[in-house]
Symmetry: C3
């Protein structure tokens, strides 16, 4: 049984996601169709790209990920299939797959072969008319290269990175989750490079780095390495976003705790 | 593998949808159960019927569509299985299936056979106790006619139509989607009958007919033929509903652009 | 095909639920993964436990239910697999499975066997790293007892019960559903014990006990036995929660209607 995932900004109130599933099941039946999320903020390509970055690695080899956050639908922007690592990504060429266009190697193809599109292609819903059929044919075993000509210059987004300088790592909040946890652009390996004994500054507060939510008392915020190995700011019994009045883009800095010796040295000057 | 879809006003916070899926999987295992939407406005039968009209045609032949928007549950209203085109529709007899009771031919049956119901039937949840079991048995290969006696007078809703008169088509907004697009009762063929060169009047504005969202600049509203072949009013980088302060029921008129000659003739009078 | 269900407080906007599904499908492919709900109020263990109580019995024998409402993740709280009746429940040991730890018999095991966990276990997401893998291995046919040592003292929640005294049953609202129906802690058998002729007092009103929503006129509230055999307060064309300004915890009392003889006797005193 093949696996196809869907990541969109369609929501679940309208029938758009179901229409994509109907198209997929009309082409291939022996498949799992799994929703990653349909609650990407409308037209927020980066948010969709970050969702894919977090979720795709958890899926088995050969999974086909369809992503549709597509403000350019019906214009001249290309449709792509990107084979990266051992999975395939299908959607508009607008940066959604940036995380998978890295130096681990990838191949991309423009979705041009008419035989792997829907019979009628609308100007407003390529998710249903181009991307879902392409994914379904891939799930049937069609090779990505048969979907169209190779693409060597797919669109890439400016990716939210952490800036590492001596003794500190600077980044920002890139996602606020349902619990109000503030997920940052700072990865655990950047923190590890600072050695032990760090503090995290955010929204005018200096927070300790803890191991898990339960290490925090009540509504005291703290920082921890979250499940996607990104630094998160959390509150155990509440929302860090609310307690700190922080959100997307809020700057976050991790720095080494000065040792007692360093503090004395500083005071002397 | 059979395909069963679900369309309800149950939302996804309560366990009602899951209870229906549990019942289905207790009767048939080799099946895809696909959500169309569970966010129909509570008790809004027309909204449910429009969702089915949009989504059902995208599903493969032999799909069984269960729809439960059912303010009359537990009263004397009938339960139905409607075989139309090459699919089957299961739910209360309250107009949900109006779009499929057309002159392409259909057969309807009242869900009366006890052997295809749950063992205990509540007065408040026929979705779980009558419709889900009927759908599961259909997915196992039971013929619709075995579910109960034929019905020749199923309930039909007054369907939102467009009024076509010389040189103009009048309709109304029938759905506002997640993006704020205003989906209307006007189908593309009615617009085509006007010939080329039309304008769309809505909420005191006169809008051009464009091909796709990307043809519109920023927050300028425009009209286009959407993915369900209905006329839509859209804003590229925002919500047409908000920009135009329009919503369900807002009147929309498509009319021919007067030619230069017509305009001159008018001025002379 | 095995069946695994998921009940969480993760919502569907973030990728957490999808990450669990990716892990499951990486271990076992011949499986239905069904969402019960992901909209449990964050950290509200009782709400999750009530959802499981309502939904689990509708699923087939051998279903594996994963529940993750887990404020204690990463602390010393145990992870459990509970075999009860003919199903298995997997999640944190915090009372989520209280309804299934009853005198019908159960066995519980602590999730300690490393071979049935993910390769890397985070401190913040055991749903993905411990519970999903355990469920997937169970779906492959692994015996619960192989997951770890037996547990005889799983955590139990104080369960919302009805107090039955002569001629009356007292309880409270335990859930407000999407329609605004007030689901109570009072089960139908407690009401039956009162005999026929009862009234329901809630929020300063005395309501009749009816059979189904359609027996109520417009916005008049009434009481009925809902689909989970709990007493519900409902309004036919609206929300009982709004009409009565009632919600979680609102007291509800069912009492026998005094007969005419009783009323006369009382007046005489």
């Amino acid at each position: 049984m093949a696996v196809i995932t869907l990541t969109t900004d369609f929501g679940t109130r309208d029938t758009y996601v179901a229409e994509m599933k109907g198209v997929i099941l009309s082409i291939v039946r022996d498949v799992h169709v799994v929703d990653i999320t349909h609650e990407v903020t409308p037209h927020d390509v980066l948010e969709g790209a970050l969702a894919l970055e977090a979720a795709a690695p958890r899926f088995p080899s050969a999974t086909i990920h369809v992503a549709v956050v597509d403000p350019g639908v019906g214009t001249s922007r290309r449709g792509l299939a990107v084979a990266s690592r051992d999975q395939v990504f299908v959607g508009p060429d607008n940066g959604l797959f940036t995380a998978f266009l890295d130096d681990q190697g990838w191949r991309a193809f423009e979705l041009r072969a008419a035989e792997f599109r829907g019979t009628e292609v609308s100007h407003t819903f390529h998710g249903r008319d181009i991307f879902a059929p392409a994914a379904a044919h891939l799930a049937r075993g069609v090779e990505p290269a048969r979907l169209g000509p190779p693409v060597t210059d797919p669109v890439r987004l400016r990716w939210p990175e952490a800036r590492v300088s001596e003794g500190r790592v600077g980044g920002a909040v890139v996602h606020v989750d349902r619990f109000g946890n503030l997920v940052t652009s700072i990865h655990s390996d950047a923190i590890a490079s600072l050695g032990s004994g760090v503090r995290v500054r955010v929204a005018g507060r200096s927070l300790p780095l803890v191991r898990t939510y339960g290490d925090l008392a009540g509504r005291d915020p703290g920082a921890l390495v979250g499940s996607s190995k990104r630094l998160e700011i959390a509150v155990s019994a509440g929302s860090a976003a609310r307690v700190l009045r922080a959100g997307l883009g809020t700057p976050v800095v991790v720095s080494r705790t000065s040792s007692a010796a360093e503090r004395r040295a500083r005071r002397r000057r």
